[in-house]
Amino acid sequence: MAHNTAVLVLGGGSTGCGIARDLAMRGVDVTLVERGNLTDGTTGRMHGLLHSGGRYAVSDQASATECIEENEILRDIASHCVEETGGLFVQRPEDSDEYLQKKLEGCRDCGIPATVLSGREAREVEPYLAKDVSRAIQVPDGAVDPFRLCVANALDAERHGARVETHAEVIDLLREGDDIYGVEVRHDSGPGKRTHKSPGTTEEITAEYVVNATGAWAGQIGAMADLDVAVRPSKGVMTIMNVRQVDTVINRCRPKGDADIIVPHETTAILGTTDEEVADPDDYPEEQWEVDMMIDTLSELVPIIEEARTIRSFWGVRPLYEPPGTGTQDPTDITRDFFLLDHDERDGVSGMSSIVGGKFTTYRAMAEEITDHVCEKLGVSATCATAEEPLPGSEDISVLEEGMDNFGLRSPVARRSNQRLGSRAADVLETDEPNPVVCQCEGVTRAEVQDAIGQSGSDLNAVRIRTRASMGNCQGGFCCQNMATELHPRYDEETVREALDELFQERWKGERHALWGEQLSQAMLNYALHATTMNRDNDPASGATQIDYAQFDGGA
């Protein structure tokens, strides 16, 4: 039987995109399907920490070692997605010396460069650290942009011939007897790039081999073929501050706990996180106490956070897994390692493997191991090159370092565009057309937005994750409208309107968790701009009722 594709990867998070890239680079024909946008799952809702491994140096040394190895690889192949911030494990007077010592030794055992700083030295690195911080261990933690990294993997997979279908939800696994031979997907708006308003279609995609990389949703996919994949989704909250109170990753130096990391990310700092098992990865409570805990607990490390402005909060669900029978009670104790479940070996059902667990930092190594496994099944002998081949945007480091005033942009805008686009900057920004700034908070220009629209269609959330437009202080109040107009005339007025509504509502979703102080003022301002100035809440174009224009004042 002729298949549509050799390998079908389910899930467009870091794991799925990493696998698709690896397979495509080895010359394997691959199709990836994702129900939403790339990164719509956990990958787009994580903390942004490129682990040095320090975090696991006491509890899980195998993970720690893998982290430092991958950390070094990603600095190289994905330089435009990584910021080398460094990290500190900070000790407060009440935190034990013994644990600090263990952490230090653990780091050294795992090959993680680690230096002890006095409290004063630590405050020289990060002036806002609490006065009573007694010591700190310095490690090579970094900040990583999961959106850019994941999209770069998908782009490169496409360059190597892969088909990447977003807004294509798997609704069934095709199983015949004990063999899985493909899936049925529902395209939100037909195959190809998403366009609002196009009618949905379904498609059967058959494959020699299916890889289930749907993370916290892997159990749902398994169930479609009566396979039991016992993922234990565990939620965590992250709270975004409006500025970077710190330029270094700040970890609390104690065994484990909630609210113990601050990660600087672009113009913001992100506080996190919690760990609490949930029943449904699509529907779980997002609660006030979680946000309050981030602020209250982390201000013990960095006191100015107590009074600072937060711009939104968001939640993600970890795809935790442990082999049947392990029986760990507390989700924080479940291993962060990943598992490859070959359903042939495990359940006697051939044609599919599931990947569960793991971390973003080690996505490439996970992908390599899975791709090796799949290639063995398919009899493909090509070897992995993803650790050496830079991702699109990180190919030519000199481009990143080129002067500031390129492309006629104001310097900070040019610098930020260069950082985001890496070696693609010249391709994207070199234009004869005027190139005004569309998003002021993040310094995103028209050319960058247009490039993203070219990649992703009329979906403005896809544009957002590629460019960071609408992700700064104003949370889209000032720029959502401008982003939407960039869709025109490629897309018609009605499509533009729907895309705008969707983006604006999405921005509100996270903002709601930061509604006090400055950000509540900002929310009212955004509301006034969209409802008062633009009257978008009573747009006669969207309503069913007709206005009788003749009843109104038509001028003197």
Binding site: E287, Q288, D292, I295, G408, L409, R410, V413, P434, P436, V437, R446, Q481, N482, T485, E486, H488, P489, E493, V496, R497, F504, Q505, R512, L515, W516, G517, L520, S521, A523, M524, L525, Y527, A528, L529, A531, T532, T533, M534, N535, R536, D537, N538, D539, P540, A541, S542, G543, A544, T545, Q546, I547, D548, Y549, Q551, F552, D553, G554, G555, A556
Partner: protein, 453 residues
Amino acid sequence: MAITDDVLVIGGGLAGATAALAAADAAEDARIRLVTYKQSTLRHASGLIDVLGYAPGGVSDGENGQEQGQNQNQTPVADPFTALESLPESHPYQRVGVDAVREALAFFDEIAGDAYAGSHTEMNALVPTHGGTVKPTARYPVSTAEGLASDDRDTLLVGFETLPDFDAPLAAAHLEAAGAPFDARGVTLSFPGIVRDDAKVTRYAHLLDHNERVETLTGKTGAREALAATVEPHLDGESRVGFPAVLGDDHPAAVRETLSDALGADTFEVPMGPPSLPGLRLEDLLYDALESAGVRVTSGVPVVDYETAVADSTADEPATAAIDHVVVDRNGAEIPHEADQYVLATGGLVGKGVESNRERVTEGIFDCYVPHATDRYDWFVDDVFGEQPYARFGVVPDEDLRPLDADGNLEFSNLRAAGSVLGGYDYAAEKSGAGVSLATGYVAGTRAGEGCQ
């Protein structure tokens, strides 16, 4: 030494400026002072004077049932004054009464003179927005007067490549989808004389105000002529041409006149978001009027505190406290300001008259009572355009606009509140922002003026 006046208005937005002018009008010999801190919301606002565009319980198509807030997708009210009657008792318009709203508008018309239009009728006009929807409003700057969507002349909209806030072809298509009774077309052009892609709107206005010499294909000409020459070939019989609101800051009338003459068509502005030139022009107009009325204006300084007078407690009932003086922070120096009557017009969440932290919502200077749910997660609803409780945060006034405490008693005997520091209405949903500021500013100012005589 305390600074002493008869009436002290705190906050210099539309409400505060109106209150100061009304006080000066009501009490000719009184000393009136206005103290204000930062820029008011006029900088953000479109310059339109909305009175009431949508009434609660108005016709809603309710397509999406419960999910959509009641205040979405309604048809606008043509006659705001009739609709005012249907507002709840607690609404600021009901507190001051419909007659006061009419008087306040007349007062505004007097101040605004030729700069505003719309006073020839009580009906709302529909004005195109920069996104391409239409919005009901009661008074509009003359610069937008030729552009009404409730006027059926065909329209050419002109946008500029370097101004991403206004996409003219898209706005034209949107107006059509909104059922506007005319043909609209949009073109995107390059603005002569703009060399930087990130030029500010004030740069465009400045070029036109001063008719600066700019380079064109046919040599150097004035910016106004150059702009007209750029637009002219695109005109196809339309009798009016709309531009984003950048047509001059100091001399908008002259700019429009030159453009209209050269094009042989009326020109108008489409209001835009911040920084909004029509809003800034209204601010200038108000501050000129304050100066003419002899109001003393101190700006750039916040009121940070207050003291009450020792209450006269001879009566049986506990007397209501009176404010003795407020404290103004001038670069760290605390200067007492004393007055007989005070008007609080410090704005809402945007102007920062209403403040909040994770636990509570307060009025910032006097800690007047602001009703709000104790649970922060009840301050909002999930639909961004739903009925948002936070949009109604503000102080509760009696019929004399004096703030009340949680038990319904007067907070202070000589304090009145006006504008968006008042609660109980959602100006964004109703389209009533400037109207409420005018009506309550007018009433609070007038009563304060009368009270000190």
